[in-house]
Amino acid sequence: MITVNYFGNIAEAAQSNSETLDKKSMSLSELLDLLDSKYAIAQFPFQVAVNRKIVSKQQALNISDSDEVALLPPFAGG
């Protein structure tokens, strides 16, 4: 299972804060394509964190079982 967490306007688009995908393994770009087809996330500016570390969206990265992915809109602390 891959966990994906959503925040801000992306959580609104997904109508959820979090979901688990029943996948053993997929590349980051496959995952982002899948999420774009579900929620049209490409319209939003966002960064990606894998296991709580920011990664480049273009990075050739394999996401596997038990990884935690998060889509993070621009930060607005303070």
Binding site: P74, A76, G78
Partner: protein, 142 residues
Amino acid sequence: MKKVFLEGAISPEFIADSIAKHQGKHSIGAHNIFLGQVRADEVGDQKVVAIEYTSYEEMANEKLHEIREAAFEKFNLTCLHIYHSLGEVKVGEICIFVFVSSPRRKQVYEATEWLVNQVKEHVPIFGKEILDNADHQWKVNS
């Protein structure tokens, strides 16, 4: 891991208590405090009435821990505290409280500025600006 996130606005009493807690630390000669207050920004013909904060807390806490460690490396500090609100904070209320203490004055100004910038740039906190007419928009730090 130090507790940073508080539910709702940060009260003046909480801030006063934090200052009082340092009176026993006699190596300190200077404190500096930054308080961020929710501003009634105008959005078209509407005004912001509150900000509702959310965070990716696990990541935020890891990041805040790194920021704290880096600040102690970079500046000569006796202690530092960062508090940030989650949930609704109304216009005029305090949403961030950064409190830096050092034996001497110079370092606390620089450290406070650096810390606030780090929090704004690197900590995954999100702000939903609630408008007069109950519409909302998502805050972006400029």
